[in-house]
Amino acid sequence: MLDKNGIAKRIAKEVKDGYYVNLGIGIPTLVANFVRNDINVEFQSENGVLGMGPFPYEGEEDADVINAGKQTITTLPGASFFDSATSFGMIRGKHVDLTILGAMEVSEDGDIANWKIPGKMVKGMGGAMDLVASAENIIVAMMHTNRAGASKLLKKCSLPLTGVGCVKKIVTNLAVLEVTEHGFKLLERAPGVSVDEIKMATEGTLITDNEVPEMQG
């Protein structure tokens, strides 16, 4: 089974040379720590920066340079700043190659719910609806089950949707899965996790027609 860093490390392998990547808050943020050093990638934050670098050294924080999580950041050579309409133009116009975000639920049709739990405080969707509606290459990073142990990979989402039919790939603590016409296709198992365990934790249709390899570290 993977921890959050393990999920991030596996997703980092999907990041290719020359990609512009938008990382959501939570596990997706960790992906930046695991991207190979020998490829060129630029991270976009939807509040208006391309070419995000690591957090600043203490004493070098700049209140005018933050990411979408409102954290102080730095920029790397080649970085640029832009306004919010331009930022979402990059996203809507499919100039961003890969979007990695978290989710509360994903359905076997590729629907995603990650912004609202009825009856609880609604904080808002931020940029998530724009991202999922526009990006062609979306990877969801999440735990396979919720805190109560219930599956987050469902036939139909029970929570209010963020977007419909948009998720293509999911990396969880148990598995790597692809959303296909017929359900969740199991591509890889996390180290030490059996196909049966993944089946048990998946409420939606799980396709396991071939031998399912264990994830390579």
């Binding site: 005018d64 609604v122 808002g124 940029g127 209010p160």
Partner: protein, 233 residues
Amino acid sequence: MIRKTVNNVQEALKGVEDGMTFMLGGFGLCGIPENAIAELVRLGVSGISCISNNAGVDDFGLGLLLQKRQIKKMISSYVGENDEFERQMLSGELEVELTPQGTLAEKCRAAQAGFPAFYTPAGFGTEVAEGKETRDFNGKMHVLEKAYEADFSFVKAWKGDEAGNLIFKGTARNFNPCMCGAAKITVAEVEELLPAGSLDPNEIHIPGIFVQRIFQGKEYEKRIEQRTVRPRK
């Protein structure tokens, strides 16, 4: 040169009334019009609607207007980090219209650029699209979103000149440029107000035509919401 300078924030906010709709720039507490917000608090205008990506924190940014119950309606994409906001929203005192962030930016930009409405894929199939026209373009469904209509835009820039030309800094740019010229009157406050001719025309982010009033801002606090650092090696 058409002069846009006013002497102070009081002059800049002349004409502000109860019940008006305002656009306010900023992302979290980054790039917010601190001086205009303070003046709105001082004036005590009430029943206002605010179009702003976020709603500040309890004791800063738009949180200051919420504390005084001056806001009737918030139009935002994300409103966490604010207990008073949550209390007013749950008690029904405050009306909240949650809008996808890119749609919010574009509804401002559409108002600036003279588009009454536009189609976007964001929110299709979700509750955001309820009651709105939808249409298929190239096999993909889109939602019709209308441009905002606002009385005042309050924006914050880094540098500006007497002609109202603006230059922003870092990610403090965010929604500010999209809101310039998107309301009947745009009020820009700047950290540094310079004589015309001091700024290179090649480097202007927002031309002064989109700004009606500009003033030298004071005492910027520029509060950091999430101070994150890494240790020195």
